[in-house]
Amino acid sequence: MNEARLRLAHAELDPERLRRLLGEVGTEREAVRALRRGRHRLSPRAAEALGRPVGELMEGLAENGARFIDRDRLPGGLLAAGDPLPGLFVRGALPHTGGVAVVGSRRATRYGLQIAEAIGRRLAAAGRVVVSGLARGVDGAAHRGCVEAGGVGVAVLGSGIDVWYPPEHRGLGEQLLEGGGAVVSEYPPGTPPAPWRFPCRNRLIVGLSEAVIVVEAAAKSGALITAREALERGRDVYVVPGDIDRPTSEGCNRLIQDGAHPVCGLEDLDTLLQLALGPPGGASPGPGGLVGRSVEDLLAEADDPRACLVELGRLEAEGKIHIAGGVVREAGGRVGNRPGTR
């Protein structure tokens, strides 16, 4: 682990400030030095943490059952290009394969809550990792559905990893951890929630997901920021349509108007996700660590490419792997109604 990154993660800087600072001084080590020199405005807690020895910081983390994962060790695809994030604070086991984010309004209607919960349940049952922000409303409902169905969920917090916000979701968060999920944050323990921190964490929700489902969102909702971020980063966005006369549906319906895919039924969801992401990954890599690799790369590494092809063909015939789009995938795909399987 890079000590400078751990310290930097304690500085509570928003990504924009951190990027500018790194741009000025070059390296993370220099950035820590610059912060210590005190010419940057820091919260008293951050300033204090920057001065403490690394060992103490680590102990502080361990007390909270958390650890710091350096940016180099984060799952691939989590960080967007140019994201300066030094690393993540994590409690629980961070799943390595992409999840599905469920986001929406904090002031959701009963309908929204009900759907979010059902989606959470459905995703969990289909073996997907449910990613959300543990906020009030849709976030919480999705997490609850996931926990109820015994699924694995990841909560991305906008506060320190030991600060449950809203407080009434402490129980839900702990259940999530017990269920084998994870709670992650880019802020060090003790960081209080603040409005400006929430938009930042949205990018992490997107990063941890391969698809984003927006359940209910008003015209100016954080969920829309998440959806936009998702589109920019090539994630599929699915939207639950809402009543057209209800302000809390406007954002959703506009997204559909702009071309996002509407979710017209829960059964739809399974098909869409299957189509977009392939069968759920799970944490276990397939035969010989082939799953997820491209055929081309495997051939390039092989001593005898022809023999390697033959081997892949055998595994495919025996139903152990499935080659689609030139990439080795876990078996379990369907045959027949997808183009190209005919």
Binding site: R306, G313, G319, G340, T341
Partner: protein
């Protein structure tokens, strides 16, 4: 002697068709009538012929001249009938010996009597062989005609020379023959770095005549690969060279080389441009111009579905028939289809570096543009990746010539069996000799639901070709296993 009949030739579709140019001198008043479905260019022959005859020092008959182009119901076009008309009139009027009309003549006449080259040399050459007559034409046309084996072709530069040559009073000049050699400037496969699976798929496609679908992001080298397919195909034999030349002649182009043709129409091309047709005399489309060669459709999903569906039948049957009022012509279209497509509208789905910006719905809509029946025609489907820096630095791949040698050997095995692997029918596939492991593998794949009935046939066809490339009579488990990797979803 008031009547003469000279032979000329027209290309109907790709078949050479003799045209008899009859001339009759006589009637009450002076005049010049031309009948036999001439188009404007042919009708204007009257003025060119009259002037050319006079400029050559012959007198134009001061009587009524009637010229008929037979068969009278076949539409005639172009200026190639000028020369036979002039020879016919001269011999009918008794101005020159009747011998002058006993030739197959093609050529346009200039007002000063010189002969200009025209298309249709091939047709003239073939008719001349068929009728056992000498063929006379301008130098460029004559060279084309001389490509027909056994043709007695004579080069003439003017009407006066044509008369002298046809009546045996002058020594005939022999044209320099166009030797249908392979053109040297084909693209080499050695330029392709990396792309191991795609290269191999290209080789298999060449060896078995299979249609090939390449899928990958922009810049991955799909076009680069496709363009190198003709270079690894066995060169055309004499018969094929002529066949291809005839199709191209019908499109008014000269093509006499042993390299198989490569055609890559843009996706905005019209249905007629691709399949053939047009008003008046039908012209061959791209699918026919690619006969005995490669038809490359880049950006397959961008082609209008109606166009793609229209292409299916010609490719399947190896010929396309175009019916027009008066004529119905059949162009051959036995070509190998190579198509390239992006995996999604933005092109980067599955790319190693660049993220894809398309939603699942957009992707499935994009892929639906290629119909299942069309997709079924592709025995081989591979993903092409954008090479990374390492691959650019990699050693060049095998040169085309080495690959072509293996391909030619595999084709030879198929020739002895009598059918190209791509054309193997289900019953022929059932008769393929397989070892125990191959059958077991196929059985497993079938029962596991990994393969459908049609996919099953494709795998067997490809496995047969892989076995041929390895010089093996029996299809083994290795061959089947490899074949399974080329049917990938895209």
């Amino acid at each position: 002697m008031f009547y003469s009949s000279t032979t000329s030739a027209a290309l109907v579709g790709v078949r050479p068709h003799p045209v008899r140019v009859e001339a009759f001198i006589g009637g009450p008043r002076e005049g010049f009538t031309l009948v036999g479905l001439p188009d404007t260019a042919v009708r204007e022959a009257r003025d060119r012929v009259r002037s050319a005859i006079q400029a050559s020092g012959f007198g134009f008959p001061a009587r009524r001249v009637t010229v008929n182009l037979a068969p009278a119901d076949l539409p005639k076009g172009g200026s190639a009938y000028d020369l036979p008309i002039a020879l016919g009139i001269l011999s009918a009027a008794g101005i020159v010996p009747a011998q002058a009309s006993r030739v197959v003549a093609v050529g346009e006449l200039a007002l000063d009597g010189s002969v200009r080259p025209v298309g249709g040399g091939l047709a003239a050459g073939m008719v001349a062989v068929e009728r056992d007559l000498p063929c006379i034409a301008a130098p460029e046309t004559a060279r084309e005609a001389a490509a027909v084996p056994g043709a007695d072709v004579k080069v003439v530069a003017s009407l006066a020379e044509a008369v002298a040559v046809a009546t045996g009073r002058a020594e005939a000049r022999i044209p320099e023959p166009i030797v249908p050699e392979a053109d040297g400037e084909t693209l080499d496969l050695a330029d392709v770095r990396g792309q191991l699976q795609a290269r191999r798929a290209l080789e298999i496609a060449a060896a078995g005549g299979h249609h090939l679908l390449l899928s990958g992001p922009p810049g991955a080298g799909k076009t680069m690969l496709a363009r190198r397919l003709p270079g690894i195909l066995p060169p055309l034999d004499d018969r094929d060279v002529l066949e291809v030349a005839c199709v191209h002649a019908a499109a008014r182009r000269t093509r006499l080389t042993r390299t198989p043709p490569f055609r890559s129409p843009h996706h905005s091309a019209s249905l007629v441009a691709l399949v053939g047709g047009g008003s008046g005399i039908p012209v061959p489309g791209e699918v026919s111009l690619a006969h005995r060669g490669v038809l490359f459709l880049d950006e397959l999903a961008e082609f209008p579905p109606s166009v793609l569906d229209a292409l299916r039948q010609p490719i399947e049957d190896g010929s396309v028939t175009i019916a027009r009022k008066g004529v119905s012509v059949t162009f051959p279209s036995a070509c190998q289809l190579v198509a390239a497509t992006n995996p999604c509208p933005c092109g980067f789905r599955g790319d190693r570096k660049k993220p894809c910006r398309c939603g699942a719905a957009a992707v499935s809509r994009y892929r639906r543009r290629i119909s299942g029946p069309l997709l079924d025609r592709f025995d081989l489907r591979v993903q092409v990746w954008r090479p990374d820096a390492e691959e650019f630095l990699a050693r060049p791949g095998e040169p085309s010539e080495v690959v072509r040698r293996r391909v030619t050997a595999a084709r030879e095995l198929q020739r002895r069996r009598g059918v190209t692997n791509a054309c193997l029918t289900r019953s022929a596939l059932d008769a393929i000799e397989m070892d125990a492991e191959a059958s077991t593998l196929l059985g497993t794949a079938l029962t596991a639901g990994r393969v459908t009935a049609r996919g099953f046939d494709r795998i067997r066809r490809v496995a047969r070709t892989i076995a041929d490339l390895g010089g093996s009579e029996v299809v083994t488990g290795d061959h089947v296993a490899e074949a399974l990797t080329y049917r990938g979803e895209w």
